[in-house]
Subunit: 200 residues, 2 copies
């Protein structure tokens, strides 16, 4: 509905379109903007456009980058023989934040989903096979989301990669750390049982 | 921590500073921005700066406005004899959205809070008394937040306004619609009992 300011309504409308931001959060954000000094507001506004203007995708791994080859792919200290395959570029950031992986990445840009008309050709799978030929890759860790499509894509990749003599792994599916058996769904419990490991 | 893109990190940092936006939401928003067409991103960026550039506060009520006198104060169809007193300009939007009030508003820009060094002089209270002299006000509805400071400010205003022959009311405090007695706190229960009304 129309409020006392066209500009306020416009910004609330823009904010409401962002994911996870409802009308109330959008209003709270707009009023926060209103209270900030102009310099801060201009900085936010500029940073939004700068991202879109300056960012690109790494020609090698498909991840977010400011340069043709991203800082991860060009980092000489990383393990170039281990590649982690992820669904989306943002998954790289999530895994990097965990500091639990020191190899390189490859972004599929989706998963195989016949119902949505997405086959291997629609994804960056051929690009990955090309990397397997050009680079000396020993281990591939598939880190797709634990969905039906993610699992099917994982199996497809494993079947294609094994004949190349590459060790193909997938990340463990099970109970998240800090969670409670009582609240876990059956599918997760089953995965956690299937994926059990020996206590040494 | 530093990710593969300076621009992405910068925007995540900017978004994280907004109220109610944690690092994970900030990352989700930044990736959403990345996927939008440039025209949409420029529109969002421009709308943010436009708000700050163009908005002002109504000289009469202190509410958000694009003009010297806001669209509510200058709306000839509204009841000019009933004034609703609110803490912040954004409270006007909340009440307007409810469509339950058709009078005018006055923004105090805070509440009396001796511990924070905020007395009546720091608020727009004298401005309101001036309005009471200049305008023909019959009823004042005090709609401050139900806090200790809000209640104290309500009592202060009531004491000052009553001698002017103005009917002073405050909004009801009690159980929110759709809520459950079981989950209500004792202070709200007490307010709801105190504020009981006769069922006709």
């Amino acid at each position: 509905m129309a409020g006392p300011s066209f500009y306020l309504d416009a910004l609330i409308r823009e904010f409401s379109r962002l994911p996870g931001i409802g009308p109330k959060s959008a209003a709270r954000l707009a009023f926060y903007i209103l209270k900030q000094p102009m310099s801060e507001v201009e900085k936010l506004s500029q940073t939004i456009v700068d991202l879109k203007k300056n960012i690109t995708f790494c020609r090698k791994c498909g991840g977010i980058s400011d340069t043709e080859i991203c800082s991860i792919c060009s980092d000489a200290t990383r393990d170039t023989q281990t590649i982690c395959i992820v669904e989306e570029a943002r998954d790289i950031i999530t895994i990097e934040n965990s500091r639990g992986f020191h190899g390189l990445y490859h972004v599929l840009a989706g998963v195989i989903s016949p119902l949505d008309g997405i086959g291997p050709e629609e994804l960056k799978i051929n690009e990955f096979f090309a990397r397997c030929r050009d680079e000396e890759i020993k281990e591939v860790i598939i880190a797709l989301n634990p969905t039906i499509e993610g699992d099917a894509t994982t199996l497809y990749l494993a079947r294609e990669l094994k004949p190349m003599g590459i060790m193909v792994m997938r990340i463990a599916h099970g109970l998240p750390v800090g969670s409670n058996l009582e609240y876990a769904d059956s599918a997760t419990i089953i995965k956690s049982l299937e994926g059990r490991i020996i206590i040494k």
